[in-house]
Symmetry: C2
Subunit: 323 residues, 2 copies
């Protein structure tokens, strides 16, 4: 079995050899640009690792691994239009570089290219893989719609938020591992378990992402406080709202658009509320619960423990834990 670094380079090579027609240029150039933009290749890695739990032959899973990565990049392309986002992974977004119409249409072509890759799935698994892929893809759209709905909603509950990120973030991870497991020949019960594993991992990952945006992470050197300045309804904000009294809620609701405060002061004011309400610890607790639950599901598979070592390593490194 390949190391995780080797797997990553197999994925990069497979994606790089995918050839797109040269014409019409404005349809296909943005697809190559988007796929060459890097990223962690998290979803194809999960798919191949899930396949590898049950089979030593990862070749039958390669097209599907590429398909989930192409699909993921398609969602980013269209999300950037909807969010009016000009940058993506340190480069101009397709939307910013080529304009809205090109981003819509090349995004559509990219979604179709993902299905094109599924043509190469072994015939006996094709129907199951297509069905799993479609469910996953629709769930991601549902999650994106709920996320946009939340922007205009005054009150979002923790339950609603968790449901949204389960669709927007976890569904793609859950679909990827399920497809990987199917292509590795996993029994149905293990497919279902791995699905739950990835769902919990995705929730832990998203909550950690929310936490790091406000409290930072030296390793990533990420700008701190972006979510607070946008007034985004993150897990932190929603948890704080649900614990705060009315005057404190008003602070949480209005600080980001308070014209008398500079950015630093806005971030400090909101974080002071978070700290007072113990939000960082509550979030960490939730992350821990989800992550531990994910790992314990891995233990319950019908395979010998050593077959899940790679997946466990990958999950830990994804969450920034030392292996």
């Amino acid at each position: 079995m390949q190391t995780n670094e080797q797997l990553l380079s197999i994925i990069e090579n497979y994606l790089a050899q995918a050839e797109f027609p040269a014409e019409p240029e404005l349809l296909y150039a943005p697809i190559g640009y988007s796929l060459a933009g890097g990223g962690k290749r998290l979803r194809p890695m999960l798919l191949l690792l899930a396949c590898g739990i049950f089979s030593d032959d990862l070749q039958p899973a390669m097209p599907a691994a590429a398909a989930v990565e192409v699909f993921h990049n398609f969602t980013l392309l269209h999300d950037d239009i909807m969010d009016n986002a000009s940058m993506r992974r340190g480069k101009p977004s397709v939307y910013a570089r080529w304009g809205q119409n090109v981003a819509i249409l090349s995004g559509d072509a990219m979604l179709i290219q993902a299905y094109r890759l599924l043509e190469l799935v072994p015939k006996e698994r094709m129907q199951q893989v297509l069905a799993t892929f479609n469910t996953m893809a629709l769930e991601v759209c549902e999650g994106q719609q709920y996320d946009m709905d939340f922007e205009c909603k005054t009150k979002v509950s923790v339950v609603e938020y968790m449901h949204m990120i389960e669709l927007k973030t976890s569904a793609l991870l859950a679909g990827s591992v399920t497809i990987g497991a199917l292509l590795g020949g996993a029994p149905e019960s293990d497919c279902r378990k791995l699905r739950r594993f990835a769902t919990e991992l995705g929730l832990a990952f998203q909550l950690q992402d929310d936490l790091l945006d406000s409290y930072g992470d030296e390793r990533l050197g990420k700008a701190i406080g972006g979510d607070i300045l946008e007034g985004k309804k993150t897990y932190l904000m929603i948890t704080a709202m649900s614990h705060a009294d009315e005057p404190t809620r008003e602070i949480l609701r209005t600080t980001y658009r308070n014209p008398t405060l500079d950015d630093e002061a806005k971030i400090a004011a909101v974080k002071a509320v978070y700290d007072r309400l113990d939000v960082p610890r509550l979030t960490e607790q939730q992350i821990e619960v989800r992550f531990e639950r994910a790992l314990s599901i891995l233990d319950s598979l019908t395979v010998p423990a050593e077959r899940t070592v790679r997946m466990r390593e990958f999950a830990r490194s994804l969450m920034g834990r030392k292996n």
Copy 2:
């Protein structure tokens, strides 16, 4: 075998019973709205008629017939954003009614719903059907991109124009009949022939559409001259440009945006040029050539002539010919 009217109502019933989740409403309501908007159901009709040439059992082709109609409506949804079109089939477009972000995302979900329907294709044909569907879908995107490219191009040749409409209009008809033939169990040579039949029919249909926009059709009661007022590069305009001397070209290029003329005068001026250059007759000739070629391909199939009667009738009625 059902009459063409019966087939149409089978398609309408099948589409009407497709249930979409109620939530999130802004994702799924536009899909139902779009599919209930009517239209000729041209593509599923062609798919079922192609299947019916080879088999009396159309049931296995129903999901794919619905899929090509859902796909077609998806393209309209996104095209309306790109073209800034506020009306569609006499009702506000999804874009106009719900806004751009909803139109992008529910369009994406609709494209995925088309693939969802393909899950129901008989397993032994699934790979071929998926591959044909993907090729068709990408060609439609390519056609739309070329169409947008042409808006900014000063010179478009007749050859380039025919290539564009072959992708934008014919590809979907060609894909539909190919899938129908495959699901009817047609031999490969007949699949290829039907593909060419639909390609020629699509070209004839599009050229007739171009002609009717400027020269009208009492049966449709369509507004006359819309293409001229938009300065659109139609078959008529491109043919006229290729036959005109430079001063006449200048008239063709500038009349639609001439502020000293009212709409009626603009239309009259451009049509006077068309008439002088014999453009209507040249267009009719081209329509005739394509349509006759399509019908003669039908004659060359390996089936008894009576099996193609329905398809012939449908093609003739599509072109407004008496049966």
